[in-house]
Point group: C2
Chain length 262, copies 2
C-alpha cells in the first residue's frame, strides 16, 4: 500500500489516497488528531471512485465524527481500472432485459455479479491487511454499503468484520443468497421501498435469508438515492454498538432501553 | 378527568392515575420538575392496563427521560371495563380459526376490530382534550404502539397527532387498510419478523398502503415481545424529530446527516 496524496478536510478529517499492489486505488479517512487506533469501517459502493467520491467523503466524514476510520477501494472494472469484456457483456444483457421490461435471467445476474465478487472480496481483504497495519487504524471492522453481494461474501469469509450495514439490492445471484444463510454477524439492512433499480420482494427475500440472529431492516420511502438523512445517524449507532468497547450509553437506565412494543 | 392516585417514580417521573368520564381508567406520566409543557405521547396497547402496566411504565419512563409526557387509557372491554358480548364472540371465532390452522375470515376481523376502533378513537380524542388542558402537558402529540387499527384511525381523524409509531399487526380490517392510504403524518412502523401472532406479508402490505410520504419500517428478528432494546432509542429519536421544535441536533453538520447509501 502506497499513499499518493494527503489532505486535511474540514471537521478534523485526514484524507489519504493510496494505491494497493500498484493497481487498486483507494482512500483512507482518519481522525486528524487520533490518540488511539480508530475502529475501521469499510465503505462499499457500486464502483467508480471519482463518480462516487462526493457521497463517499460525506459518509466518511460522518464515520470520523463518530470516532471511526473509514476506507474504500475501487472495484474491479470500476473507475480507471481495466474493464472486463465478460462483465460489460453481462451488463449490456441486463440493461437490454430491463429496457424490454423482461425478467432478468438468473444466468445474466450470475455472469454479472459472481466474477465481481470473486475478484473484489480478496482485494478488500488485502486492503484490510494493509489498513490494519497502519498506526491509527484498528479493529474491530465494519462493512457498510453496496454491492450487497460483496458485503455478503465478506461477512461470511472475513472474521475481522464483526458487523455489516448492507444496502438492499435485488440482482443477487442464487449462490450468494445461499451464502447469506451462513452469516452470523449483526446486520443492518437498508431498503428503499420504491427503488427504481431493485425488486422489493427479492430484497425482502434476501433479508429473510440472512442467517444472523441480530438483523434489522430499515425501509424508507423513495428511490435508490433517497435514503433519508436520519439513517446516517442510525448507521452510526449500529456501528457504535458493535465496534466500540463497553456497554451502550443507555445501559444505565432500563427504562430507556425498553422496546416500544404493544 | 379526575385524578385518583399520584406517586413519584424513580428518575424524576410523576405518575398519576385518572378516570375519564368516571368510567375510563388512564395513567399520565410527566416530568416531576417540568418548567414548560412537555409534548405528549399517547401510549397505545392491546387492552388490559393492569396486565400491561409493567411494559407501559417502562415505555413511559423512556418518554419522560426524553422530555415528553406520556399517557394511556384503558380500551373498551379491556381490564375492568365491561366486556362486549359481540367482541368476545369475535375473539372466540378468531381463536378457533387460529387453533384449527384455518385462515381468519375478513368478517371475523371486522367484527373484532371495527367496533373497538369506533369506540376507542373518540375516547382517545376525549382523553386528549382533557390531557392538553393540564398544565405541564402540551402539543404537538404523538401516538405510539398498538392496536395498529386504532393508531391508523387516530392518525387520520385527529389533527393534533403529528407523528405516529405503529406496531405492525395483521388482523387489520379492509376498511382500515383503505383508511391507511389517507394518512399523511410521518410514521415509524415496527415489525417483528417472526411474530407468532401476525402474518408478515399482511403487515408488509399494510406498510405499503400507508399514505404518508415519510414512513419508515424497522423490522427485527424474533417474536411479538422480542423487540430489541435499541428500538426504544430509535422511537425516541423519531418523536424528537417531529414533536420538538427546531432543527435536529445533527443539522449543523452535513456529513453526519448524509445517508449511508451506496
Amino acid at each position: 500500500m502506497r499513499f499518493t496524496t494527503e489532505q486535511r478536510l474540514a471537521d478534523g478529517v485526514r484524507e489519504r489516497e493510496f494505491t494497493l499492489d500498484d493497481r487498486i486505488p483507494g482512500i483512507l479517512w482518519t481522525p486528524a488528531s487520533a490518540s488511539e487506533p480508530a475502529p475501521l469501517i469499510l465503505l462499499g459502493h457500486p464502483g467508480g471512485l471519482p463518480r462516487m467520491y462526493p457521497r463517499l467523503v460525506a459518509r466518511a466524514q460522518g464515520c470520523v465524527e463518530q470516532g471511526f476510520a473509514a476506507a474504500t477501494i475501487e472495484l474491479p472494472g470500476g473507475g480507471e481500472r481495466p474493464a472486463s469484456a465478460a462483465a460489460e457483456q453481462a451488463r449490456a444483457d441486463l440493461r437490454r432485459a430491463l429496457a424490454a421490461g423482461e425478467p432478468v435471467a438468473d444466468e445474466v445476474v450470475d455472469r454479472l455479479v459472481l466474477p465481481l465478487v470473486e475478484k473484489a472480496a480478496p482485494e478488500w481483504r488485502a486492503a484490510l491487511d494493509a489498513l490494519l497495519a497502519l498506526p491509527g487504524v484498528g479493529g474491530p471492522v465494519g462493512y457498510a454499503g453496496g454491492v450487497i453481494s460483496i458485503g455478503v461474501r465478506l461477512a461470511v469469509v472475513e472474521p475481522r468484520i464483526v458487523a455489516a450495514l448492507l444496502f438492499a439490492g435485488s440482482f443477487v445471484p442464487r449462490a450468494i443468497v445461499a451464502e447469506a444463510r451462513r452469516i452470523t454477524i449483526p446486520l443492518h439492512v437498508l431498503l428503499q421501498w420504491d427503488d427504481e433499480g431493485n425488486d422489493r420482494q427479492m430484497a425482502l427475500d434476501l433479508f429473510d435469508a440472512l442467517g444472523s440472529a441480530e438483523k434489522t431492516l430499515h425501509a424508507n420511502m423513495g428511490g435508490h438515492t433517497g435514503v433519508p438523512w436520519f439513517e446516517g445517524e442510525a448507521a452510526n449507532r449500529f456501528f457504535a454498538r458493535h465496534l466500540k468497547a463497553g456497554p451502550p450509553a443507555a445501559s444505565a437506565n432500563p427504562g430507556e432501553r425498553t422496546p416500544p412494543s404493544q
